[in-house]
Amino acid sequence: MIAVKDKELKMLDKAASEFAKKQLAPEREENDKFPFGPFFDDVLAKAFELDFFHIILPESLDGMNQGMAALSVILDNLCREDSSLGGIVFTNSAAQQVMLEAGATDLLADIVSAESINDFLIAFPVFNNPAEVPHLAEATPDGNGFTLSGKLEYMVLGGISGHCLVPAKIAGQDGYSYFLVNTKDNNVTVSDPVLSLGLRACPAVDIDFNNSKAALVGNQGEGDTYFTKMADRLHAAAAAMAAGVMKGSFNEAFSYSKERFQGGQAIINWSEMKMMLSNMAIAIENADMILATAVSAVDNQFPGWERSSRAAALQIQASACELTTDGIQALGGVGYMKDFGQEKRFRDAKHIQALLGIAPMKRIKYIEALLK
């Protein structure tokens, strides 16, 4: 729906859709085995070629200088087939956005000039609002820069990227600041990928810093400001991921219901099945409308765009959790098995709901923002 009018978006839509169907769908089950199967490096590299990771970067950084509409179109399409890649794009975009908000373009320029995808990627704890976590890593001034010590849980892309963007406290200061850490040398210890509910090929690790060199991103103590600004925008993209999962789940259920026979009929002829599929289709149509309004509000900076973006995410993510459970139900026993991807979408939907912090806390913050 976002890509109805705009030509450029239409092309992106088509490219992402084809990519998802050709590159992601056939190997979905295989790629989901990670960390017990191989990581889908080649798919990632192909996505990199197609500039999926350059959407929100400004032209000065060799980016496409696009907004949430473009990012949402990509994520929506990817997540229909396999949200893991969507998760990688999202995490990386979130990290890029924090650095942009912080005005750390020089640091970012170094990274995005990288040749390989791994050096290009920035790991980021994207399932958390650092302001809500009491124990962050600690940063100490050291010459021109800082050193970082401490443990950080669930650093997404931690095992596969050249840098990570770390929220940390500077001793004696309120709030937190962001630091960029090169993961290659540098006394950084990375755990094995954390076995997780969904988004398996978008791996996260627990990470330990031990006097690791770190560059300050933006100003000291401004971490929460950057995070909030980033989250205001990126929630719209998180909503797009949930919407993509919903569509994938519905498409699968819809086509299955026409092929599976019980009671002597295609199960689509059972009125309860119609009801279920209809609820799913309606939820998707609504999600699309909400999403289109939200991304347009963000990209045009309409008054209250931050609220639109967050409300879209909270609504669509919850709706995706409800829809994907029916998505399995419609396929019965086989829905529960790996074969059709329905069980993966169910897990992914719940996983996506946790993006950018605890969902109910976000609801509480939402009303608190209105109180101010």
């Binding site: 059972w270 009125s271 309860e272 119609k274 009801m275």
Partner: protein, 501 residues
């Protein structure tokens, strides 16, 4: 495989076995005739529904929409004639002595046809239960006996509970909140009694009741420690009725304002105060809490039952509609999606019923009905003719010793975990039942389309009526916090409930 001592230890682990197995624990202790009694009570309710409630439901609701000041005296008199106001009152205080849990089933049955009329009967027992919760046997006998007398003389003698104040609703239901509450009702100690000043609001059946069990506080700055319970009779000097609320539903049952202006209550009408609590094991604040918990453990089962009644009413009406309406060339009821929804409604209703039954089992094991359901006592009361009871047992009720004994047994001996269990189940039943009511109404209305919107199809009334259930006897939010406190938090000192910065 396992040692005796080990069994005990594992049973105490959370969730404690005793918290979760009330029906099975009850089984060997339940008097054998309870089931036949229950059958009889349900049959009475169904008969009453057929003859009185169903034909009058819509009319009563409509009447009060037209004339908000109308009071349903006719109905109260009919219920009185049939003896419903003393149905589960023990024989020793003049009642008919049916087992107390059967009342919940009675209220559910009547509630399926009209929540307002079911309240006109049930709320009386809220007042009676509050009296019972103080275990002041002398006053219990005096006041409740009048109800039984009133049934013989065709002069209904109903009892209310007056607790809610204009600025304190949730606060007065929960002792932890009481001291932060904005209490304006005042009880001043004077020679030979108390002087009451202030207003009570939303008092169900207020205008229709003869006795009002009033909760007051001697010291408004420390209400939790100075709670007192008194009875005030309609007509007492300084007592008057104020306005009658205009409610969305349950219109047939008035919600009254009670106004007290220098209203004197003599000591013989003080049911419970600091002088009583001084003789008990627990400190005054904890005793106050225990009394409130006794009341709500019983009353919330009733509200749960009303929720079930509403849920059933919605289901039965939707079913009726689906049986007589053709959609797409076949009966609506033969569409699978309708069948699935009706099944869901049945499930919701059936589960909620189990919740209030379990609540009653808990009350029988560990709470208000414990003594009455003790098998020897239960059978003794069944067998003894009324004349014998009046002659030999009733006179003892006036003795201070009797009150002392009952308070020892029911208050001092009741353990904190038993309080938690009974009040926890009370809240669980209340939340489950009332949410079931609303949910089923909404589902029924979805199925019925425009028919559901019409007063004469009954369901819109059930929705209006049942919304109140989620609010009174503690909002469902407060009740959820009570579930949390009773079952999940009571073992952990780090958990704090009702704490705001």
């Amino acid at each position: 495989m396992i040692k005796r001592s080990e069994v005990k230890e594992w049973m105490a682990h959370e969730p404690a076995f005793d918290d979760i197995m009330c029906s099975l624990r009850s089984a060997p202790r339940i008097p054998r005739t309870m089931i036949s009694e229950t059958r009889k009570v349900v049959a009475m309710a169904r008969k009453f529904n057929n003859e009185v409630v169903r034909p009058y439901t819509l009319e009563l609701d409509r009447t009060i929409q037209q004339d908000p000041e109308f009071l349903p005296w006719e109905f109260v008199k009919q219920a009185n004639q049939r003896g419903f106001y003393s149905l589960v009152i023990p024989k020793i205080v003049g009642g008919k002595g049916y087992n107390f849990p059967a009342m919940s089933h009675f209220l559910e049955e009547v509630g399926t046809e009209c929540l307002a009329m079911s309240n006109l009967i049930g709320v009386h027992y809220l007042g009676a239960t509050t009296l019972l919760a103080t275990w002041n046997m002398k006053l219990i006998n005096e006041i409740i006996r009048q109800t039984a007398e009133g049934e013989k003389t065709n002069d209904p003698s109903l009892i209310t509970l007056a607790i809610t104040e204009p600025a304190a609703g949730t606060d007065v239901e929960e002792v932890s909140l009481l001291d932060k509450a904005n209490i304006t009702f005042n009880a001043r100690r004077e020679q030979g009694g108390y002087v009451l000043n202030g207003t009570k609001v939303f008092i169900s059946n207020g205008h229709l009741s003869k006795w009002h069990v009033v909760i007051g506080y001697e010291d408004q700055s420390r209400p939790s420690e100075t709670m007192l319970v008194v009875v005030v009779k309609t007509g007492t000097k300084g007592f008057s009725f104020g306005r009658k609320e205009r409610k969305m539903g349950q219109k047939g049952c008035p919600a009254s304002e009670l106004i007290f202006k220098e209203c004197f209550v003599p000591d013989e009408h003080v049911v419970f105060d600091s002088r009583h609590s001084a003789k008990l094991k627990r400190p005054p604040r904890e005793t106050g809490r225990q009394i409130i918990e006794y009341v709500v453990s019983v009353s919330r089962a009733a509200v749960g039952a009303w929720g079930v009644g509403a849920a059933r009413g919605a289901l039965e009406n939707a079913m009726q509609f689906a049986m007589e309406t053709h959609v797409d060339g076949k009966l609506l009821i033969n569409h699978e999606w309708v069948q699935c929804r009706l099944a869901e409604m049945y499930k919701t209703m059936a589960l909620a019923r189990l919740a209030y039954m379990e609540n009653n089992y808990a009350n029988g094991l560990d709470g208000a009905f414990k003594i009455l359901q003790l098998k020897p006592l239960y059978y003794l009361m069944k067998i003894l003719p009324a004349s014998m009871i009046d002659k030999f047992i009733t006179p003892t009720l006036g003795l201070p010793f009797t009150t002392w004994l009952f308070r020892k047994l029911q208050m001092d001996w009741q353990k904190d975990e038993q309080i938690h269990r009974t009040t926890g189940w009370g809240s669980l039943a209340k939340v489950s039942g009332t949410d079931a009511g609303i949910r089923n109404c909404q589902m029924a209305l979805e199925i019925m389309g425009q028919a559901g919107l019409r007063h004469d199809r009954r369901v819109e009334k059930i929705l209006r009526d049942s919304k109140l259930l989620q609010i009174y006897e503690g909002t469902n939010q407060l009740n959820r916090l009570n579930i949390f406190e009773s079952f999940l938090a009571s073992h952990h000192s780090r958990i704090k409930v009702y704490e705001h910065e």
